[in-house]
């Protein structure tokens, strides 16, 4: 049966198939009881097949083993949808009056401030009653009439309220006395009551900001105006206005061309209806001769009707004292809707015939979730409804109120986690007549109403905030996938889930979940804006989403997203099939992009590394450069006349990229997109620019404070700054230093370095402790002091003697060998470890060792300290730290052969000395030119301790073939960035106690 039909909806012949039932389902445990699992991570279903069965298990005939065919519940590959543009595009001009709430959510504990504001600025509301009573006895006038008391002082007090004031000023006495007397009667609303209500209000406001269930279902819809699919004329229905109170029916003609993404031609102005409340939800029915549109506001619901030949027209409005929480238009019978109220009642509403209550619950279905949210959906049978709340969903027969059956409940069977709640139920009538979508904070379930309680499919949707919008897109042909789009409010996420089955075969999820673009991400794909404009735009784009709808046509999928400010955005995705690979603009097989490197080491084989082929490098570098460019360009679009598309964009698109990566079209900036966004952003900016700014802050005149002393000699020095500037520029060009001597500036007073403190002159305990802690040995000092380390010391001493004996036995010529061996070890470890991170190893054993060593070498150490200049002391410190893990054989830090030797035999912590393989910093390069001597070795060590971490990183990056770190294009940036990374790495390395754990697998 060929069902391929390139229209937006499925042919009705396919509904025949919906009556089929899969001959086997994937195995599944059915466990009663509340969920036990705790929410763990948001990486849910990746890399999992879930379950597998053999297709022909029942009719297994002998000798058919070759044709054994297994299917899994989650398949690896799905349809590949590639975004056509790198970001969403605004569809309609922004609503200028929309209020944008930005900033931290209100804190309930801020209520005193709110109260103060109220008392201060709305004093007539707050105190008028008492004021009127008291005005006979008190006056603000200075003159003391016989029966009136002057309270002029109060005026002064009130004036000071505008400033931060001292709380112990003496007229506070009076206020306090007055407060004790009349505080409970003076205000119209008792302060405690007001505080309580304010707190409650702020709490609920905060909760509303975090999650607002009112908008569940979404308030945007797309409806074809004719049932015949040939004409693509459609209607986009969305709310607008600053409170989303205006209902718009906007005629749209999508232009579908074979090789171009669809273009939406909007009428100049929509049909608009002003409602008396915010539009919370829209629900669309099927378009036949005419189609129903259900509109929900807090306390009323309305049914509109529209069609190709008739203008949108209101049919009926119902009102209630309870808030409505759901409206759904029947997909089966026109003019039928279901509504649910927060009171727990659900009604079947036949337009112009009245309401029929079919369900009423005063509590939640399965446990007390303390939520008044109720939801209703139709099922395959026009008189059987799904009644859902936060705890689950039940199938209810509207003809017989006692007849109900669980469709879904939060529990073990569905493998829910603790705290999971139903957020949305949706009947997927277009995809499958028996399927329902149920979403929770963590998962999305497909339920088949014929197999209640057990989900036929489950995804972990991995969205950042709760999915409350959903849009189902049926498969356009039998070989294609059904799609579900989930949308969230706060994070504006849209997720694309694909699945097949439910008819002949069990449901299967196809491919991994894909995240679509959200409006808030789009700024990064546009030209950089000036900070204040960027801030404005961010504010505007960060508002929560309010709805989601999508329309598909052949290989294109257009997704519309509404935000709470009434802004509509759309994005188009293209189905990536094999034929499109020839298309230059679209993905080519990614054979060259990433490959798996087969390492022989068991511990590292899942390290995915790219080939170091030139192509790849070229790609990544060019991409990086693109990114860098996109970061750098600043287009001055301050004032309106500027052409929105800058030339830099074209430069970028001209950039040679021989290796077109798979997703590269996304990275490239889009001229049309930029134009559309500039047009969209303009009214927002101009509106703000038009606002007059009132600067409320206090101004202090500084003219008198800073007076430049212009003396006679200045005349002479006048041209000095100029020459200085010139010199500086020249020097900067050459990348040299501007020395003081060359500037002809007056000589600086050279302040001598203060005489180093001699710790021996301060023998008292405190000073010694301070000295120790200055050297970072505070802990060991205390251990020493308290005698906690006696055993360790003895042990260390013993060990040291043993080793000395051993060392004597060893020949000293093995130095070079040990050196190289440590180098190779470092290479094996992909070379992150740097000397400092090793040195500061806070392992217990090494601490003990260091302690022991210090005791032994104590006198020598201090001597060295005393004699050496600052840099030497630093060096010594490093030396000691490096030696800690090893043995203390080197009495003098200048003789390093001992530790080197040991490091080869015992512990590879000194391996960082390998970092001199590649001269990295200029300093080290010059140093290595010196004749090979012992002192060179020490210099190296010292430098390693300073810069050692840089080199391995680079080495590592080279190994990885230009991934992440080696992509930095110019050498001047290299040192900086790699240093930063090495810092991160170094810190990352720090808590690692043993090298062996690296081989963790």
């Amino acid at each position: 049966m060929d069902l391929s039909n390139h229209s937006g909806r499925v042919d009705f012949t396919s509904s025949n198939m919906d009556s089929r039932f899969p001959d086997q389902h994937f195995p599944h445990f059915y466990l009663d009881g509340p969920p036990e699992n705790m929410p763990r991570h948001s990486l849910g279903g990746w890399g999992s097949y879930d379950r597998v069965f053999e297709i022909r298990v029942g009719q297994c005939d002998a000798g058919q083993s070759a044709q054994r065919e297994f299917v899994s519940q989650h398949t690896v590959k799905g349809e590949e949808w590639v975004p056509v543009k790198p970001a969403v595009t605004p569809l309609i001009p922004p609503c200028k009056d929309a209020k944008v709430l930005f900033g931290p959510p209100p804190d309930p504990m801020d209520f005193p401030e709110h109260m103060q504001y109220y008392y201060q600025h709305y004093c007539m509301d707050a105190f008028s009653t008492m004021g009127n009573l008291l005005c006979d006895n008190f006056t603000f006038k200075k003159k003391n009439t016989k029966c009136k008391k002057s309270i002029l002082w109060a005026k002064k007090f009130l004036k000071t309220l505008n400033y931060k004031r001292c709380h112990v000023r003496n007229y506070w006495q009076k206020v306090r006395q007055l407060h004790y007397l009349v505080s409970d009667v003076v205000s119209d609303i008792p302060p405690s009551l007001l505080a309580e209500h304010l707190h409650e209000e702020l709490t609920s406001q905060r909760e509303q900001l975090q999650f607002c269930s009112d908008l569940t279902g979404g308030a945007v819809g797309y409806m074809p105006l004719y049932e015949a699919q040939g004409s693509a004329e459609s209607c986009l229905i969305y709310p607008s206005g600053d409170a989303l109170e205006k209902l718009n029916f906007h005629r749209v003609v999508p232009e579908f061309n074979d090789d171009k993404p669809p273009n939406f031609l909007m009428d100049s102005s929509p049909f608009a209806f002003e409602l008396k409340g915010t539009i919370k939800q829209l629900s669309l029915g099927n378009m036949e001769d005419q189609g129903n549109v259900g509109v929900r506001s807090d306390y009323f619901c309305g049914s509109w009707v529209l069609g190709g030949k008739i203008r949108p027209r209101l049919q009926e409005v119902i009102q209630s004292n309870d808030r409505y929480s759901c409206i759904t238009v029947s997909p089966h019978v026109p003019d039928e809707l279901v509504v649910a109220t927060e009171y727990g009642a659900a009604y079947l509403w036949t337009v112009k015939k009245g309401l029929q209550k079919f369900r009423e619950e005063d509590s939640n279905l399965y446990f007390n979730a303390k939520s008044p949210w109720r939801w209703c959906e139709f099922t395959c049978h026009p008189r059987v409804m799904v009644y859902a709340d936060r705890t689950g969903a039940e199938i209810t027969d509207a003809r017989n109120r006692d007849c109900y059956q669980t469709l879904f409940r939060i529990g073990k069977t569905a493998a829910c986690v603790r705290g999971e709640r139903v957020l949305l139920a949706k009947y997927l009538s277009e995809s499958h007549a028996h399927h329902h979508l149920i979403t929770s904070q963590w998962s999305a379930y497909i339920m088949d109403e014929r197999v209640p309680c057990v989900p036929v499919l489950k995804w972990d949707h991995m969205m950042e905030s709760e999915p409350v919008f959903a849009c189902s897109l049926p498969a356009l042909s039998q070989s294609k996938n059904c799609k579900v789009l989930l949308g969230s409010q706060r994070s504006q996420d849209i997720m694309l889930l694909q699945y097949t089955g439910g008819r002949m075969r069990a449901c299967q999820a196809r491919g991994p979940i894909q995240k679509l673009f959200s409006p808030r991400e789009s700024l990064s794909h546009l030209n950089l804006l000036l900070p204040h404009k960027r801030h404005l735009a961010e504010e505007r784009l960060n508002v929560p989403a309010a709805g989601l709808t999508a329309v598909q046509n052949k290989d294109y999928l257009s997704v519309f997203q509404l935000t709470e400010t009434g802004d509509l955005f759309f994005q188009t995705l293209k189905l990536h099939t094999d034929e499109t690979t020839t298309n230059n603009n679209l993905p080519e097989p990614a054979s060259s992009s990433v490959s798996v490197e087969h390492t022989k080491e068991p511990g590292l084989s899942e390290n995915l590394q790219s080939n170091t082929d030139n192509d790849n490098q070229g790609y990544s570098e060019s991409e990086i450069r693109q990114r860098a460019l996109s970061q750098l360009e600043v287009i001055d679009n301050v004032e309106n006349g500027h052409s929105p598309a800058s030339d830099t964009n074209e430069d970028i698109s001209k950039e040679p990229n021989g290796t077109c990566s798979k997703r590269q079209p996304i990275q490239r900036k889009d001229h049309d997109l930029q134009v559309a966004w500039n047009k969209w952003l303009k009214p927002i900016f101009t509106k703000v620019a038009g606002k007059k700014r009132h600067l409320h802050h206090h101004q202090i005149k500084t003219r008198g404070l800073i007076k430049l002393k212009m003396t006679k000699t200045d005349k002479l020095n006048k041209d000095r700054p100029q020459s200085l500037r010139r010199d500086l520029q020249e020097v900067m060009k050459k990348k040299q230093l501007l020395l003081h001597g060359a500037t002809h500036l007056p000589l600086l007073n050279v302040t001598p370095v203060p005489y180093p403190v001699d710790p021996n002159e301060w023998p008292d305990d405190l000073s010694q402790r301070l000295t120790a802690s200055w050297d970072g040995e505070w802990k060991s000092w205390w251990e020493e002091k308290l005698g906690l380390n006696r055993e360790k010391k003895m042990e260390a001493l013993r060990r040291k003697r043993r080793r000395e004996k051993k060392a004597r036995a060893w020949s000293r010529t093995s130095l070079s060998g040990s050196f190289t061996s440590s180098v190779s070890y470092q290479d094996d470890l992909s070379g992150y470890s740097s000397a400092p991170s090793q040195g500061f190893d806070s392992d217990g054993e090494s601490l003990g060792n260091s302690q022991a060593m210090e005791v032994i070498d104590g006198t020598l150490e201090t001597e060295m300290h005393r004699k050496s200049p600052v840099i030497m002391r630093q060096f010594l410190k490093d030396q000691t730290l490096e030696q800690e893990p090893v043995e203390s054989a080197s009495r003098s830090p200048w003789r390093r052969s001992g530790p080197e030797q040991d490091s080869s035999s015992k512990q590879p912590t000194l391996g960082s000395s390998s970092s001199l393989d590649v001269g990295l910093c200029p300093a080290s390069a010059t140093l290595t030119q010196r004749p090979k001597s012992q002192s060179k070795l020490h210099n190296e060590d010292y430098l390693n301790s300073l810069f050692g971490s840089q080199e391995p990183t680079q080495e590592h990056a080279e190994q990885e073939g230009g991934f992440s770190f080696s992509q930095v294009p110019t050498a001047s940036q290299l040192s900086l960035s790699s240093r930063r990374i090495s810092q991160v790495r170094g810190s990352a390395q720090a808590p690692q106690p043993k090298k062996k754990s690296r081989m963790g697998f």
Binding site: H41, G47, A62, S204, V594, S610, A990
Partner: protein, 441 residues
């Protein structure tokens, strides 16, 4: 009254549930004061915000960078930028060096999940890579051993490495690791079940051609041993409540092969009628097919389908039920058949199904033959409003006339038999007939 009692019971249960769930007790409002409470949904806990996150000061640099790295990987994967994800993932493996136990066990699972998914989407990943990743991850975090084993086996099965899968499964089955193996009971059960399932598949291969004699069969000792293994494990798993369609099918196939029909029937009946099990239409279908295969009496077939009707009135076997009922020729059964077929047609998935309408028409004609049209009248009076709106409105008529004229005719006939008149549907039907006559002429 019953429903009220039910509610009371439910509320009692609810409180227990709440205790168990350990939900923070929010203020309990009286029902009339149900102010907006809907913000109660707790925010999902994300991995990249550590569960006990108490400000940035407590987080080490290592944790911070791994967290950020994970975030980037996650983002790249969600946008299907697999290459970028692979780049970062190569660095992310360092998180295994984390010394915090909880984080490390979590990291193992994350690395398994991310790693496999990324590998799936890299063009040149080989079976060796997958094996290495699965083997290393399952051993590094033993807490997920069973789950990863199972996934590994699935991967091998899907890629046609049946023997290797079998080997891995038997390793996994014998795996014991103290508390850890006991802490993964469901997965362990699944491993055993799949062991049995694969045994069954091997048994299938070894099974001789169906034409051969039973004596020849008895020679094949190896085959019998597979049967024994498979039947024990499969029998064990399908006693647990759940949906076990493939396992039940394979178990029944084996039992039938060895002529153990009684046992098979018992298994099927338990699978279909045990109240601990979820309602699964397939269970009833298997039972019905089994009965049909073994030539059970008609009454038994009807009763088994009746139960299916009460559970899934939209199932396609309802047509068979109608046929069976009609075959008995009893008035009562005919009435029931009418009800069943009308129930069926009320589901939107059957709305345009010609065979269902045909069946209904046949039943009505049967009734008419027996002069029992009052049954139809009775049913019609209940369903009239719905049926007129659902099946016989003008739009549907026009649609039928375009798409399926045969259906239009059947429906017109049904409508006429119900005694309705003066409905737009007739007009459309008339128009079509005239057009057809004109075409013929």
């Amino acid at each position: 009254m019953d429903s009220q009692e039910g509610i009371v019971e439910k509320q009692c249960a609810m409180d227990d549930f709440e205790d168990e769930l350990n939900i923070p007790a929010a203020d309990v409002d009286s029902p009339e004061e149900e102010t907006p409470n809907q913000g109660r949904i707790k925010e999902p806990i994300h991995l990249h915000l550590p569960p006990k996150y108490k400000g940035p000061s407590r987080e080490t640099g290592f944790h911070k960078s791994t967290r950020n790295c994970l975030k980037i990987i996650r983002d790249a994967m969600l946008h299907h930028r697999w290459q970028e994800a692979a780049e970062y993932f190569s660095s992310y493996t360092q998180t295994l060096e984390d010394t915090t136990v909880s984080r490390q066990t979590m990291a193992c699972e994350i690395i398994w999940r991310l790693g496999t998914e990324i590998l799936h989407h890299l063009p040149n990943a080989t079976a060796v890579d997958f094996n290495a990743l699965y083997n290393q991850t399952k051993n590094s975090g033993v807490r997920n051993y069973a789950k990863i084993c199972l996934e590994h086996v699935f991967h091998l099965l899907l890629n046609g490495q049946f023997d290797e899968a079998k080997r891995q499964l038997s390793i996994a089955e014998s795996w014991r690791y103290g508390k850890h193996s006991a802490a993964q009971p469901l997965e362990t059960k699944f491993i055993r079940a799949y062991c049995g399932f694969l045994d069954y598949l091997i048994w299938c291969d070894k099974r001789p051609e169906s034409g051969l004699e039973a004596e020849d069969v008895s020679d094949n000792q190896e085959m019998h041993s597979y049967f024994r293994q498979a039947s024990v494990t499969l029998g064990e798993i399908i006693r647990q409540p759940g949906i076990w369609d493939p396992f039940v099918l394979s178990y029944i196939t084996m039992l039938e092969f060895y002529n153990k029909e009684d046992q098979a029937l018992k298994v099927l009946q338990n699978y279909a009628y045990n109240t601990d099990f979820p309602s699964n239409p397939n269970a009833h279908i298997y039972l019905y097919q089994f009965l049909k295969r073994h030539k059970a009496p008609q009454s038994k077939l009807i009763s088994s389908l009746r139960i299916l009707h009460s559970l899934v009135p939209s199932h396609e076997l309802m047509l068979e039920l109608c046929v069976l009922l009609m075959q008995t020729w009893s008035e009562k059964h005919l009435e029931e058949a009418l009800r069943v077929s009308m129930d069926l047609l009320e589901f939107s998935s059957w709305k345009f199904e010609t065979k269902a309408w045909k069946c209904l028409l046949k039943i009505i004609l049967n009734l008419k033959e027996k002069h029992c049209l009052e049954y139809l009248k009775k049913e019609w009076s209940v369903r009239r409003s719905l049926w007129l709106a659902m099946h016989f409105r003008a739009y549907i008529g026009r649609k039928d006339s375009v798409e399926n004229v045969k259906l239009l005719k059947i429906k017109t006939q049904v409508l006429r038999l119900t005694g309705e008149g003066n409905i737009a549907y007739f007009g459309i039907s008339l128009k079509v007939r005239r057009r057809e006559q004109a075409d013929k002429a």
